[in-house]
């Protein structure tokens, strides 16, 4: 145990915790905005998978991470349109249609990989970017300010999404649509347009999350996300639909993941228990959810399609 409590190991663990948290945070922030408008999207994981593949494919062919990320996000946006079409226009049962999107993403990403790539070649992994000044701070510098650019984007989006939801008129409209769509409709806010916008945004974020995950790994494989998208949905509940709450949940998840990996490599966790330990982040997240469940009220219209006059 003592070999864990050294300056170098702890800073490295926290730094990787922050990095692990980033894709969950991106996906969960997007899902937060969608759920705040009343749409439950369970297809996040499938969208992340398909985006991860398209990011991988483009990055592999062009050698450009950035182009890969852009195409990954576009993939998310297109799947967002599909999700919104099913949930909003067709008024499908959101839990079920989301699982459909998940299965589509899971199967299609692997199919495309086998068909168009076949042999797993790595793409260049993301370089870390040191923030001038801040990165030289003792402890904090190596933990938080020597990360790759996608991690910075993920954490900067937290205050951005909070500002959008709570300080802008558009944010208020999103909240109104999620709490009482009939009230929003009665003052001339289009419930349909609002929900399309939030769902497409959420899915674009899922696309960014999938791309981030891919670039952190540097290589595509079947079911690359390992259900990260579902964890992201759980983190939205954990964070009580608040951006900073979601960030707290993502960090908790990242810390547990990083500590487990670190302990494994240091031999604190015996190899025989390694598989069991790998479930720890999910188990702890679920336990936290159980403890927190019901403390906060979910958006009143969450999961319910809106029909005027009904």
């Amino acid at each position: 145990m003592s070999q864990f409590f050294t300056y170098a190991v702890i800073t490295a663990t926290i730094a990787s915790a922050v990095q692990y948290a980033a894709p969950f945070l991106l996906a969960a922030l997007g899902e937060t905005v969608g759920q705040r408008s009343g749409v439950l999207n369970l297809g996040v994981d499938g969208i992340m998978l398909l985006s991860a593949f398209s990011c991988y494919f483009v990055a592999l062919r062009t050698g450009s991470d950035l182009l890969g990320v852009v195409v990954g996000m576009l993939t998310g946006a297109v799947l967002g349109l599909l999700t919104a079409f099913m949930s909003v226009t067709l008024r499908a049962q959101q839990g079920i249609s989301g699982i459909g999107v998940y299965i589509l993403g899971l199967g299609l990403s692997d199919l495309l990989f086998v068909r168009f790539v076949g042999t797993p070649l790595p793409v260049s992994s993301l370089p870390n970017v040191s923030v001038p000044g801040l990165s030289r701070l003792p402890a904090l510098g190596p933990m938080f300010f020597q990360q790759n650019w996608l991690v910075y984007i993920a954490f900067l989006l937290v205050p951005a999404v909070a500002f959008f939801l709570y300080r802008t008129t558009y944010g208020t409209r999103v909240l109104a649509v999620g709490e009482n769509p009939a009230a929003a409709d009665s003052v001339g806010i289009s419930v349909t347009r609002t929900r399309y916008a939030t769902v497409v945004f959420g899915c674009t974020m899922a696309g960014l999350a999938g791309s981030t995950l891919l670039l952190l790994d540097g290589i595509f494989q079947e079911n690359l996300t390992q259900s990260a998208g579902f964890i992201a949905v759980a983190l939205v509940y954990f964070g009580a639909w608040r951006p900073f709450g979601v960030m707290t949940g993502s960090l908790l998840y990242g810390v547990v993941t990083a500590v487990v990996l670190q302990w494994k490599s240091l031999g604190i966790i015996p190899t025989s228990a390694a598989d069991l330990a790998a479930t720890a982040p999910a188990v702890i997240t679920v336990l936290a959810l159980v403890v927190l469940a019901g403390r906060f009220k979910q958006p009143s219209s969450l999961g319910k399609a809106y029909v005027r006059g009904a």
Partner: protein, 534 residues
């Protein structure tokens, strides 16, 4: 409004001609004409289902008419959506408020409007305007309060301020007084009169004769989707209006003197019940209902009546206190045990909690007695024929109008559904009969019938407890009235010797002279319960 004199001098503000609107199976509006002049209050009067709300939903762009024309200020218009209606200066205060509970008053008032700060909210400016409006119309409300914290009366003020903020020239109020205390009704009417005096046109939807005559200039009566008449409010009596509404002569409700009450069959002592938010909704209520009595609980909704009622019915475990039916302790027991102990219960939301809408009339009638050996072949197996026979008897005995016993209950009218629930509950011959909102939203004839059944039941020695937000109903049916305010029984009155106003004051939390405070052992117990709570 005040700043638009050209409207005040023009002809009708609104002219609806030959409006016809058909829903599957119903002709909701049949060739209806309706107009509103600037500066007038025009009441739209009729029973539930007469087509009042449909007509106004057509005006507000929620429904499109099948036939007919709408003109605003003399110009023909098409109103495709609520947004279009708002843009044309039409405001609507819906029966179910169109507010977002998690947002503040100012956010609700300005929802959907452009902000002076572009994408950013300009709440301080909105708040200032809300305070101005609130001041000048006597509609007290705090701009930065969250709507979920507000009382029903305050929420309604927010709705009216919302319309004023949007500079509506034509304001429709759908049954605005249903949820208010008499004092709040007076304040509302004062604000509406001020709006009218400034040239605004007001449509007042109601089925309360007293209020229609008290507030409006003209009255249009609708019956079964058709316009019966449009009359000057000053030239018509309450009886005439009532006859126009139901289409025939109706007698005054007969107030039979009740029998001398017997022993206590229901006694509730020091009951404390938590509401959905975990706060104490019922804060130490003690009451007794004796055999042969009809006790009415009056109060503005949200003062703990629903929680009290659910605690007695076994649907919500109380935090403290006891509920005795004929001496048997039932507090915290499940609803099945409470029912077996002799409690009959008609819940407030009849479609959600009273019946299974998709089930047939016969099936709904046997829901409470599905273990009755008379209906069973052997345990767990129903005798269909016996179920139908029982249903046929009850349908006849309680005058439930249904096309057949196999008709799904959701297809019946509100009045017939309520009669069906009352039939089912009384068939079990309860010792205590608890009825929440006995006649809310049902037609006069059915309401009359249910009141008669309640009296007959009391005469048989059942203890009847009704909870109602309709003060007129409580006053006509009950032999004793209890008023609930903020989770407590604040006072008790004999309806034959108390005025509406005195009870109205109690509903607003003021114990008036002339009304007795809660008396006897109940009061001491209540005080004891309070002490424990504190």
């Amino acid at each position: 409004m005040a700043g638009t004199p050209e409207v005040a001098s023009a002809g009708p503000l609104l002219e609806m001609r030959g409006i016809t609107k058909r829903f599957p199976g119903v002709l909701a509006n049949d060739n209806v004409d309706f107009d509103v002049r600037p500066g007038e209050v025009h009441a739209l009067f009729g029973e539930n289902g007469a087509g009042k709300s449909t007509l106004m939903h057509v005006l507000y762009g929620i429904h499109q008419p099948d036939r007919g024309t709408i003109a605003l200020g003399g110009r023909p218009v098409r109103i495709p959506s609520p947004a279009a209606a708002i843009a044309m200066g039409i405001g609507m205060v819906h029966q179910h408020f169109m507010l977002v509970p998690t947002l503040t008053v100012a956010e609700n008032v300005s929802l959907g409007l452009k902000s002076s700060r572009g994408p950013l909210k300009d709440l301080s400016r909105v708040a200032a305007r809300v305070e101005e409006l609130s001041e000048s119309y006597g509609l007290r409300v705090h701009p930065s309060a969250k709507v979920w914290q507000l009382s029903v009366g305050e929420r309604q003020r927010v709705e009216i301020i919302k319309a004023l903020y949007r500079e509506s020239r034509l304001l429709v109020l759908d049954e605005p007084t249903a949820v208010l205390t008499p004092g709040e009704v007076d304040e509302l009417f004062a604000a509406l009169r001020k709006m009218a005096s400034e040239g605004c046109g007001l449509v007042f939807i109601s089925h309360k004769i007293r209020e229609v005559l008290g507030l409006s200039d003209r009255v249009t009566v609708l019956r079964a989707g058709r316009r019966v008449a449009t009359v000057q409010a000053g030239e018509v009596s309450g009886e005439q209006l009532a006859e126009m509404m139901v289409g025939r002569h109706i007698n005054r409700e007969d107030l039979t003197a009740s029998a001398v009450p017997g022993r206590a069959r229901l006694s509730v002592k020091g009951l404390v019940v938590r509401g959905d938010r975990g706060t104490e909704a019922v804060r130490g209520v003690s009451l007794e209902v004796r055999a042969g009595e009809i006790v009415g609980i009056a109060g503005v909704s949200g003062n703990g009546q629903r929680e009290l009622e659910e605690a007695i019915a076994g649907l919500r475990p109380p935090a403290q206190g006891s509920v005795l039916v004929d001496g048997a302790e039932l507090a915290g027991r499940p609803s099945g045990a409470v029912r077996r102990a002799g409690l009959g219960y008609v819940p407030e939301e009849r479609m959600r909690h009273g019946v299974v809408g998709e089930f047939s009339v016969a099936e709904n009638l046997m829901l409470a007695s599905s273990n009755d050996p008379a209906l069973l072949r052997r345990p767990g197996f129903l005798r269909r024929r016996a179920v139908r026979a029982r249903a046929r008897e009850l349908v006849a005995a309680f005058d439930v109008r249904t096309p057949s016993l196999a008709t799904p209950v959701r297809n019946l009218s509100g009045g017939n559904i309520q009669k069906l629930i009352v039939a089912r509950e009384l068939a079990a011959q309860p010792k205590v009969f608890l009825v929440a909102q006995p006649t809310r939203g049902i037609d006069v004839t059915a309401a009359r019938y249910i009141h008669e059944r309640l009296r007959a039941e009391a005469a048989k020695g059942t203890a009847v407890l009704i909870v109602s937000e309709d003060l007129d109903e409580v006053m006509t049916v009950s032999t004793r009235v209890l008023v609930m305010y903020e989770g407590r029984v604040i006072g008790e009155a004999d309806p034959r010797h108390t005025t509406r106003e005195a009870i109205g004051l109690m509903m607003a939390g003021v114990v008036a002279a002339g009304a007795e405070p809660a008396r006897g052992p109940g009061r001491e117990l209540e005080a004891a319960a309070d002490a424990e709570v504190v």
